[in-house]
Symmetry: C2
Subunit: 315 residues, 2 copies
Amino acid sequence: MAFDRLIENIVKTQNPSVVGLDPKLEYVPDFIVDKRVEKYGKTLKAAAKAIWDFNKAIIDEIHDICPAIKPQAAYYEMYGIEGIKTLYKTISYAKEKGMFVITDGKRNDIGATMTAYATAHLGYTEVCGEQIAAFDSDALTVNGYLGTDGISPLLEQCREYDKGIFVLVKTSNKSSGELQDLELTSGKSVYATMGDMCEKWGGELQGKYGYSGVGAVVGATYPEQLEEMRAALPHTFFLVPGYGAQGGGAAGVSKGFDKNGLGAIVNSSRGVMCAYKKEESCDEHDFAKAARREVIRMKEDIISYLPRIVLPTNE
Amino acid sequence: MAFDRLIENIVKTQNPSVVGLDPKLEYVPDFIVDKRVEKYGKTLKAAAKAIWDFNKAIIDEIHDICPAIKPQAAYYEMYGIEGIKTLYKTISYAKEKGMFVITDGKRNDIGATMTAYATAHLGYTEVCGEQIAAFDSDALTVNGYLGTDGISPLLEQCREYDKGIFVLVKTSNKSSGELQDLELTSGKSVYATMGDMCEKWGGELQGKYGYSGVGAVVGATYPEQLEEMRAALPHTFFLVPGYGAQGGGAAGVSKGFDKNGLGAIVNSSRGVMCAYKKEESCDEHDFAKAARREVIRMKEDIISYLPRIVLPTNE
C-alpha cells in the first residue's frame, strides 16, 4: 500500500531512475519496423507489434539494472486497439522480469468514474462474480484538479492491492507555471497546495520506509521547486520527469532526494530509447545494448550527487 | 475547427443534451450479459461484447432525437483491450449514425505527449507514410492543469480536422472546490482563471455561430458558477455534466445557455442508460425504448427553461 516495493528495487539496483517507454514508431530501428510492415502492411498492427519488439528487447537488456519502467499511455493509444495490446504486454512482461511498472496516464475524473480508472489500471474488474485484472500496473499517474473525491477511489485500490499513485504537482513543461505557479490568497502557490493535498491523501497509506502510497510528480526542470517540495512533503515520494532531453540535470534532480538517497525516482524516456541514435557509429541492431549503456551512464550521473542509497535504519 | 457541427445537430434535433455512454456491466440487462457469457465465459471479452450490444441498441434508438454521445473512456479501459475495442466500435457507429461524439478522457500531458493524445483521439497516426485514424472522435475532454503547451497540440488537430476540445473548468463533483474555488491573488478563482485560458486558447478557432473549438466543462451542480462563466466566456461552448443522477436540475443548467438557447450541452449518463430500471414495470428487453423515453423527457425538461433553440441570425 505504498512505494515500499519500488524503494526496495531502487536500493537493490542502486539506481533511482526509471525508463519511460514512450515509443513513437520513429524511435524504433528500421530493421524491426520493416519486418513487421512486411508481414502486416503499413498498419497500426504492424506499428504496435514493432513497438512491442522494441520494448521487449529493452526490458530484457535493462531489467537487472533498472528498478522500474514508465509506459506513457498516450503513445500506445496513438496506435489504437493494437497499441493498447502492446501496452498490456509491456506491463505484464516488465512485471514478470521483476520491474515496478508506473503507467503514466494522468487520469482524473469524478469519484464514480475514478473508481473505473482505478479498477482498470490498478485493480480488478468484476464480471459476473469473477475478478479479472484489466491492466494491473503497480502505480498510475493522476491529476488532482478535481480534489479529494477524484482521488479517494484510488486510495482504496492502493490499500487493497499494494499499489501507488503519483499526483501531478509541478510539471516539467515550460508553461506549467501558468496555473501551477499562481499565488493563492493563502500565500501558497497552486502547486504547493496540491503538494499539501498529497501529504493529506497519503496519510493512511504510510509504508515501511517513511513514504506513503501517494507520490507527486515534480519536474527535473524546476530544481528550486523540487527542493521546496522535498522539504515540505516528507512522506511523499517524487516521480521526477524532465531529465535529459527536456533539460533537467543531475545536480538539479538531487534536490528531490532525502539524506538516504531515497524519496525520488528520475525518469528518462527518449534519452534511453534513442541512445543508439546518439552514440557514434552504433549499429541499429545494438539499440538495446545502447539503452543499457545509457541507463548506466544516467545512474552514475545521478548517484554522483547523492550521498548513498540505503533503507532508513530506524524503520 | 469548432463546435459548428455539434451546434447544427442541436438545432436540428432541438435537443441540447448528450447521452453519456458510461456502461458498467451492471447497467446492461441480464438477457444481454447472459448470452455473451454463455458464449465467452465470465471474461472481459464477454463483458465488452455485452456492452457493445447495449450501446448499439441505445444508439439505434436515440440517434434521430439526440445530437451527441459522450463515451467515458474509464468504463472501457476497465474491460481491458476488449473494452477498448467496444469504445472504438461505439465511436464509429455513432458517427455513422450522424451523431457527434465526445470522448470523455480528460487527457493531459506535456506538449510532445499531448500531441500523441491528440493524434490518438482526434487525428491520424502516421505509419511509414500512411495516415491512419486510431479512435477518430469529434471532440475530447482535457485537463488544463499543465497550461498552454499541454493544450496547443490539440488546437492544431482541431484546426486541421474540424475537431473540438472541452477543458475542465468547474467540475460537477462535491470536492471540485478544494482547488478550483480557491482565490488567487489576482482576485479570481482558479476555475475562472482556467475559463479565461479557454477563451484565449479558442481565439484562433472561432466558428460560424460565435463559439470556438475550445469548450469548457462546467458542472450542472453549480448553477451560480455556470451563470458566472456563461457571462465571462462568450465564445466558449459548455459541456455540462451532473444533470439528474448527480443532482443538477433543468432550472440550474439553463444558466449555461445564451439567448438563442445555444452555448451548452447537458449530459446525462445513468439516467438514460438505466431508465428501464427506474420505469415502473418496464421489461428489460425494452431498455433501449426506455432510454429513448428518458432522452425525450430530459429534452422537454431542459428546453422548458430555454426561450428557443436557433442559430444566431447575424452569422
